[in-house]
């Protein structure tokens, strides 16, 4: 009799453990998906800001129409990109053209002092940061999910229910991968 009870107890504990691990994995997986959506939200924000910026600087930067066209083209390409890999490449191209544009704005004193340009520039800087931080958060939470998917014993549960590993966001652009310069002058 008592053996039966012990066996039942062990089974009950096992089932409870299974439920806890499964729910933990599901919750993490949803956080990962939400993290991915957040990146999209920030990318959308950037698409919306770019036409405004171009419109504002167009008049003064007459001689830089080439760069402005490139920015708009890169934006449209990035918006219509399909699939994660393609999207990443196009988004990086867009980041590159925006950087060029900002570098050019620096050389136009009357643009730099223009309040609207400064405002838009701040918004775009912030958007770039948001995209970066959204990716960072996605990678953090995806790593957390992958770890709990792979460590023993929760990997057994992940295996039974077929949880797939989350893909990490990697830097596509070789120049971005290069080690950043370190400023040691800070005391």
């Amino acid at each position: 009799m008592s053996v039966l009870w012990i066996a039942l107890g062990v089974i009950a504990v096992l089932i409870l453990w299974l439920i806890a691990v499964y729910n933990g994995l599901v919750s993490l997986k949803n956080q990962v998906m939400n993290g991915w959506k957040q990146i999209d939200v920030q990318l959308k924000r950037r698409y919306d800001l770019i036409p405004n910026l171009v419109e504002t600087v167009k008049g003064i930067m007459k001689f830089e129409q080439d760069t402005l066209t490139k920015v708009i083209e890169a934006r449209n390409k990035a918006m219509s990109a399909q699939g994660v890999a393609d999207k990443a490449v196009k988004e990086n191209a867009l980041t590159g053209t925006l950087r060029q544009l900002f570098a050019l704005v620096e050389s136009y004193p009357n643009l730099k002092s223009n309040e609207n340009v400064a405002k838009l520039q701040e918004e775009l800087v912030s958007t770039e940061n948001r995209i970066g931080f959204a990716r960072q958060f996605y990678n953090d939470i995806a790593t957390k999910f992958n770890i709990s998917r792979e460590v023993f014993p929760s990997n057994l549960v992940a295996g039974i229910f077929g949880f797939k590993a989350a893909e990490l966001f990697e830097i596509q652009d070789a120049s971005e991968r290069a080690a950043p310069k370190v400023d040691l002058s800070l005391k």
């Binding site: 957040q38 309040e115 701040e122 912030s126 940061n129 960072q136």
Partner: protein, 314 residues
Amino acid sequence: MNIYEQKSRNARDTWIIAGLLILFFLFIGAGFDYFYGAGMSVPVFSIAALSAGLISSFAGYMSGDKMVLYSCRAMPLDLNDPKQRQWQNVVEEMSIAGGMPLPKTYIIDDPDPNAFATGRDPSHSSIAVTRGLLGALNREEQQAVAAHEMSHIKNYDIRLMLIIAVLIGAIALASDWAARGFMRGRGGRRRGSGKGSGGAVLIIMAIWLVTAILAPFLSRIMAMFVSRKREYLADASGAELTRNPLALASALDKISSRVDPTRSINQGNAHLCICDPKGSAVGFREGSFSDLFATHPPIRKRVEILKSMAYAHL
């Protein structure tokens, strides 16, 4: 210790502190009953004090953040001002980095750079910053400060600190009642009658009174102790959000190089801030005595730790 352990420890500490607060009120009330409540059938003072304790901790939990913000005359940000717009952006960036809800943002019209976070949980949180901080720090340094405050929110330091702020205020009040009540009722009806001899009653009375008078002092020391330990962790997990510990190091350097006090923030709320609003050179001194009375660890130590974090990654 990581942020998740810190979170559950904070939950426990919050209960302990709220319990302490209520016990203290009960203690004051019971003393009144014992000394002056001889003719009454129910312990009126105990019940009154107990409810005062319960109400003040609950009210503090629910709206203490508003009281703190009000007491520093914090105003919502004006998003048309470029500097404030930038700060709003920085805070939004950090809430994305932490995967957290966006806290409400406030500005305090004070030239001294300082910042604090308050609230009861991440969905009910606020970050306040002085005008001086926005002027003194560059974008990266502001980001580091926002990340530091965001970490206080994320691991529920803010809730604990809020309850402590309420505790300090309520204990000061209760202690005041006790001292006044004692003065007014000196030679009360209890003396020499009823339980025990007159000497024993006098001793109990003395203990009661000394506790009541020392409590505000002790509650301050406790606040300082609790807050100091939390600054290092918030520094570290803030650096984890920005991945840039040097920016926080240079922000702390800049903030502490301004020795003026942050006048808008009173001492009762000192333990909430990123740097001690007293503003004297206390932050630079090291040693057991100044450590005991500082709400924050010495800035130099914090900067050193942050720099060692940065070099560890090279």
